[in-house]
């Protein structure tokens, strides 16, 4: 937005100050993340820029930390664990969250507000409290320090995201479509898979992605509930920082930033697709 011709000196000063503030906020948010990326290519085992790096000498850069990450057995196991736990808890959270959202969107559903508040509480309650609670509860059930325990814990964290995104999609959902499907002879199951699901799919998928990211970068619950067998990538990074300080975690962090960015781009593309299908903007 350019300045209008009638702008006073005060307006002009504010206009530029405002831009400076915006850039400063942007810098504050992004700098710590962006600075990791070049550092992860450091040829030396330091967390700072070496003289060679600053002079852009090729000797200053290497991919040794990436190699280290992809060859170390403990890191490889953590990758496997992260994806296994992430995918399993996402599948569970997506199924449960979608069903909950469908139920909560029905007009005859009683106590909607209370049920909704309970279901999304894992998002609001401080993680450390959930984690401690789950630790004691899962210990009683003998599922602490098992994959099942970690998956269930992450499912509880991921479900609220699915409920929120699917509920938002259902706000614009025309319920006469399900009636129309029934009048045309479709069973409730057919109606769900052929009519309801395709229309709420963008919401389901973005909820699933949020649930996956939540599980993928979660550390607090893993610290409490997971045993040595279930170490995930964030858990391994945690040990990396505490035990052997190695720039490998910078390489891991860079890769995780990359994965998160890809997932966010996917969410945005899905959102646009859903708007197009609903005829918000003509295709």
């Amino acid at each position: 937005m350019a300045l209008p011709a009638y702008a006073t000196t005060k307006d002009k000063v504010w206009y530029y100050t405002f831009r400076v503030i915006c850039y400063a906020i942007f810098f504050f948010l992004m700098a710590p993340i962006l600075v990791m990326i070049p550092l992860s290519f450091n040829a030396q085992p330091y967390f700072s820029f070496t003289r060679e790096m600053l002079t852009f000498s090729p000797d200053g850069y290497s991919i040794r930390w990436y190699q280290d990450f992809l060859t170390s057995p403990s890191w490889l196991r953590s990758i496997q664990n992260s994806f296994m736990i992430g995918i399993a808890s996402t599948a569970l959270a997506t199924t449960l969250g979608t069903l909950a959202a469908l139920g909560l969107s029905r007009s005859e559903m009683p106590f909607k507000g209370i049920i909704m508040a309970l279901l999304i509480s894992p998002m609001i309650v401080p993680l450390i409290i959930s984690a401690a609670g789950m630790f004691f509860f899962f210990s009683q059930l003998n599922i602490a320090q098992t994959y099942l325990g970690v998956i269930l814990a992450h499912t509880a964290l991921g479900t609220p995201f699915v409920i929120i995104t699917v509920t938002a999609t259902l706000v614009g959902f025309d319920h006469s479509l399900t009636r129309a499907a029934a009048s045309l002879g479709a069973t409730p199951t057919t109606t769900f898979f052929k009519v309801t699901m395709p229309l709420i799919l963008p919401g389901v998928i973005s909820g699933a992605l949020f649930a996956f990211i939540t599980s993928f970068d979660e550390i607090v619950i893993v610290l409490f509930v997971a045993g040595p067998e279930q170490r995930t990538i964030p858990r391994e990074m945690w040990s990396g920082i505490r035990e052997d300080i190695s720039p490998t975690i910078l390489a891991v962090a860079t890769l995780m930033v990359l994965i998160s960015t890809l997932l966010l781009v996917t969410i945005e593309l899905l959102r646009r697709r859903s708007e197009r299908i609903r005829g918000v903007t003509p295709s």
């Binding site: 025309d174 006469s176 479509l177 009636r179 129309a180 499907a181 029934a182 009048s183 045309l184 002879g185 479709a186 069973t187 409730p188 057919t190 109606t191 052929k194 009519v195 395709p198 229309l199 299908i277 609903r278 005829g279 003509p282 295709s283």
Partner: protein
């Protein structure tokens, strides 16, 4: 002509519906619809007409009573097994499917093969003159086109009964009139039993074989359009269908098919007693504006005449609409055809008007 026997194709037998267990939205509904009949449920919003349609479609359950389709009770049959086609108010086309896929949906769930489906889809689309639109998405069609597709989709699986819930409500006037004609034509040529819900009385009169006028959860009158308009059975129907002049009074005497009514202003007129039974009863007399005549040459010798003061004259092109003050009622309307010999009355003048006693119906006084 339907009567409330149980031999119709679609039968409502003493049906009641309550949503909260206390107030009845539908009170004791008895209705029998013959095979191939076009029946319209007409009434103001909240009169129970849509609830009746939803009970027939299976989306609502009757609290009491039985609904029969082809002599079989359908109360315990879920909507998807009733085989009743339905056209929704907002069309309810599946936005993620093309027009062809929308029409294919009911055929696919019935397990029909591809070649049969294509043949039926083509026939249904041609029927509504939309043959060239099979690959479009609903969002790419105009309201009228979506309406035709919704109609084709409700008919493509050849149901014996089709329900329509105010299907023309969202269209502009010209398109609506055109679609009224097309739907009636289609329903009759295919011999489908149609139950049509509307709050638009013109639609009800022009399209239906029979009209059921709903109010307060009951059918107030069930009759063919001409009978409904010319012989309303109570003052609600008289007031709801068409334009209506009313004069309030007390029944003085009933002799055969003539009732002597003393109006509140003291004048005494003849009327046809409809649902008044005894002298002394309060009554509302109803006369259609087009049955009121001011031209002496056109007045029958048996006509009843009264003095009227002209309040306002409105030229409407094909008709003249004259607002009169008759027996204290300042909103007494007379409609006269724009004929060469028709007089254009000046406001303020006092004229003599008349009507036939048979067009003047003594009805109940609404509470």
């Amino acid at each position: 002509m339907s009567d409330s026997g149980t031999d119709g194709f679609v039968v409502f037998d003493r049906v009641q519906k309550s949503y909260d267990g206390e107030t009845l939205v539908v009170k004791d509904l008895n209705l029998s619809i013959a095979k191939g009949e076009f029946l319209t449920m007409l009434g103001p919003s909240g009169s129970g007409k849509t609830t009746c349609l939803m009970m027939l479609a299976g989306f609502e359950t009757a609290t009491h009573g039985e609904i029969l389709l082809d002599r079989k009770p359908i109360n315990n049959i879920p909507p998807h097994k009733r085989g009743i086609g339905m056209v929704f108010q907002n069309y309810a086309l599946f936005p993620h499917m093309t027009v062809g896929e929308n029409l294919s949906f009911p055929l696919e769930v019935r397990g029909m093969g591809k070649s049969v489906r294509e043949q039926k889809i083509k026939r249904a689309l041609d029927m509504v003159q939309m043959g060239a639109f099979a690959n479009r998405r609903p969002a790419q069609l105009s309201g009228g086109q979506q309406q035709r597709i919704a109609l084709a989709r409700a008919l493509v699986f050849e149901p014996e009964v089709v329900l329509m819930d105010e299907p023309l409500g969202a269209l502009d006037k010209q398109l609506r009139e055109h679609m009224q004609f097309e739907i009636t034509h289609l329903a009759h040529s295919l011999g489908i039993t149609t139950v049509y819900v509307t709050h638009d009385q013109t639609e009800a009169l022009t399209m239906s074989d029979n009209v059921a006028v709903f109010d307060d959860g009951r059918i107030q009158q069930l009759a063919p359009p001409d009978v409904l308009y010319e012989e309303p059975q109570n003052s609600f129907v008289a007031q709801f269908i068409g334009e209506n002049n009313t004069l309030d009074g007390v029944v003085k005497e009933i002799k055969g098919d003539t009732a002597l009514v003393e109006l509140d202003t003291g004048e005494v007129i003849d009327a046809r007693p409809v649902n008044v039974t005894r002298a002394g009863e309060r009554t509302r007399v109803s006369i259609r504006p087009e049955r009121v005549e001011s031209n002496k040459d056109r007045l029958h010798e048996d006509a009843h005449t009264v003095k009227a003061e002209v309040m306002e004259f409105i030229y409407m092109g094909d008709v003249f609409r004259t607002r009169l003050k008759v027996a204290g009622n300042e909103n007494f309307i007379m409609k006269s055809r724009n004929a060469p010999d028709q007089v254009r009355h000046k406001p303020g003048s006092v004229i003599e008007i008349g009507w036939m006693p048979k067009d003047c119906r003594a009805l109940d006084m609404p509470a």
